[in-house]
């Protein structure tokens, strides 16, 4: 239960949110043609005569796209429909030369499922209504010519999954958490790269308001929102706007809106008459899609360990803190990096701490993501090994890590070349201690009179004299002996 409320003149209002997420299915070729899906190609070079809707061309579905939709469905515990069908959604627009989008209205491939999100208010299960497969449209550019729009059909026919949630979310935080969790699952499964900047994932945000516990209000749909932050802004803005409209005596019209990220507001799209009369009907070019049990079993067997299960295992079996386990498993790249670190011999808890603090700190500073880390998991495991066997102290390890980030060298080589090895040579440490105690005879007296805080001062002086390379444990022991 969310406590998120909008304060209106007539009391508190609750917001009801549903998301329709369009996710580009990761595949080499398009949904119904053999043209490439590569991003950033020259305009109209990834277009076949099928995509250009030349007369007589027939669509043939890509098996990989079907498989990825089924795997995604299985990952959210959804029903997999053994029998599904493609429908035509008819409309005319310059980015869609067929005059219709091939989609699945009546019989989608995936039915009801759910996923669990976590917010500050705790865990919550969000229902998924359905997942269907459909074609993407092309791209229009309006600013290249005074009287013409330019059309690039490279994206036209690329496979999308539309993942439709139930209206189960009640706050911007829940909507954001849902989108993040869905993205994480898609990336684990490998069915979508989750790249929101490149448009691989975008959401239509359905928002309505009601008095807590009352019937659902009329909803608006804000199209093509392409970041988690924007989704939350849309919810906040729309909820406020709708409450104001209703309290001023108006009514909410069911309509399509657009988000303006610069101003943080949504705007009504001028809706043309008939715009929503899509006249869906079964596509006569395509037979029903029938999945065999073997196919579904294969999809099931190919699923990786998913984020929730992985997080639980990290906590239960590896003893990692829930916080660290959450951070590491929230993205598949980080989880893979961490598991490579363990495979290279690092201890789990020390590895998790180091990754979430030292490595993330460094990557943040460098503006890189974990895939671009200058330090490999193997090198990091070596560094942690040098700390574990006492060769390096914590502070020396930080110095070595900084050099690794700059040079990409192995830690053992850096330790050797720069002489950064920590020493447990008691003779050298004792000599340094003797010198410091005689130079600070007054402080030694104060310490012996009971000013025990001075112990830290002696440790600091000794470490300084040893250029930071003395084993702190040995220094402590020898100092205690010398001062007793």
């Amino acid at each position: 239960m969310s406590n998120y409320r909008i304060q209106g003149a007539t009391g508190e209002w609750e917001v009801v949110i549903g998301l329709e997420v369009h996710a580009q299915i990761t595949s080499n070729a398009k949904l119904f043609s053999g043209a490439s899906t590569a991003f950033g190609s020259e305009p109209n070079t990834n277009v076949s005569l099928v995509d250009a809707a030349m007369p007589g061309m027939l669509p043939v579905p890509n098996a990989e796209c079907v498989k990825q939709a089924v795997r995604t469905g299985l990952a959210i515990d959804a029903q997999i429909h053994r029998w599904s069908r493609f429908d035509r959604k008819n409309y005319f627009y310059a980015d869609l030369p067929q005059g219709y989008q091939i989609s699945q209205l009546y019989h989608p491939i995936v039915g009801e499922g759910s996923l669990t999100v976590e917010t500050d208010e705790g865990e919550k299960v969000i229902g998924v209504e359905r997942i269907h497969i459909e074609q993407d449209a092309g791209k229009l550019m309006h600013d290249q010519h005074p009287t013409m729009s330019y059309v690039d059909l490279n994206r036209c026919g690329v496979a999308l999954m539309e993942i439709v949630s139930k209206p189960d979310m009640r706050s911007p935080a829940e909507a954001g958490a849902y989108m993040k969790k869905l993205r994480a699952i898609l990336r684990y499964v490998g069915s979508c790269d989750g790249n929101m900047e490149q448009g691989s994932m975008r959401a239509d945000v359905n928002v309505s308001v009601r008095k807590p516990g009352a019937e659902f209000g009329t909803r608006t749909e804000t199209k093509n929102v392409n970041s988690v932050r924007f989704i939350q802004q849309v919810v906040e803005y729309e909820a406020r706007r709708q409450v104001d409209v209703i309290e001023e005596g108006g009514t909410i019209v069911q309509e399509t809106r657009l988000f303006d990220p610069d101003k943080g507001v949504t705007r009504s799209m001028r809706s043309k008459e008939d715009a929503h009369d899509y006249r869906y009907f079964p596509d006569p070019d395509l037979l029903p899609l029938v999945l065999t049990e073997d196919f579904v079993e294969e999809c099931k067997a190919s699923l990786p360990e998913l984020p929730d299960a992985k997080r639980q295992r990290y906590v239960d079996a590896l003893g990692i803190t829930p916080y660290n386990a959450d951070v590491i498993t929230s993205d598949v790249e980080t989880a893979r990096w961490f598991e490579a670190l363990l495979a290279a011999g690092a201890e789990a808890k020390a590895g998790a701490n180091w990754l979430t603090s030292e490595l993330f700190g460094a990557l943040n500073r460098l503006g890189k993501d974990i895939g671009q880390s200058p330090v490999s998991p193997e090198q990091a495991a070596q560094l942690l090994g040098l700390v574990a066997d006492g060769t390096l102290s914590g502070s020396l390890a930080k110095q070595v890590f900084e050099i690794m980030l700059e040079t990409g060298d192995d830690p053992a080589r850096i330790v050797e070349e720069k002489g950064l090895k920590q020493t447990s040579d008691t003779g050298a440490i004792e000599a340094a201690i003797a010198e410091i105690l005689s130079a600070n005879a007054d402080k030694v007296d104060q310490y012996k009179d009971g000013k025990e805080a001075l112990f830290g001062f002696f440790v600091g002086q000794t470490m300084k004299a040893m250029a930071g390379k003395a084993n702190p444990k040995v220094v402590n022991e020898l100092l205690k002996k010398a001062l007793s």
Partner: protein, 101 residues
């Protein structure tokens, strides 16, 4: 048996369907088409007299299953052919009358 509800179109409906399909129709054509379409609808409604409650919808006349393709790039890179019939093409794009929502 459910009595078939008589379905018919008027000239306004015909105009709307034509407009959705982007087919230009004159008033005379619309007037001629109304009785034609209503005749066709009448024939189709005769089918409603057959009890089909125990019959599965037929999806194809020959028993066949949907074939799938492998995920391999086998097509594309034919921009000149794709653009060949375009009324306007510039810099590798189709050019269309400016459409801004």
């Amino acid at each position: 048996m459910i009595a078939a509800r008589a379905m018919s179109v008027d000239s306004a409906t015909v105009r709307r369907i034509a407009s959705l399909a982007r087919i230009a129709t004159s008033d005379a054509e619309v007037e001629a088409m109304v009785p034609e379409l209503n005749n066709i609808l009448g024939w189709i409604e005769q089918l409603g007299e057959v009890d089909t409650s125990a019959v599965q919808p037929m999806t194809a006349v020959i028993a066949n299953t949907l074939r799938l393709r492998d995920d391999v790039v086998t097509d594309g890179d034919i921009r000149d052919r794709v653009l060949a019939n375009a009324p306007a093409a510039e810099h590798g794009f189709f050019g269309v009358p400016k459409v801004i929502e």
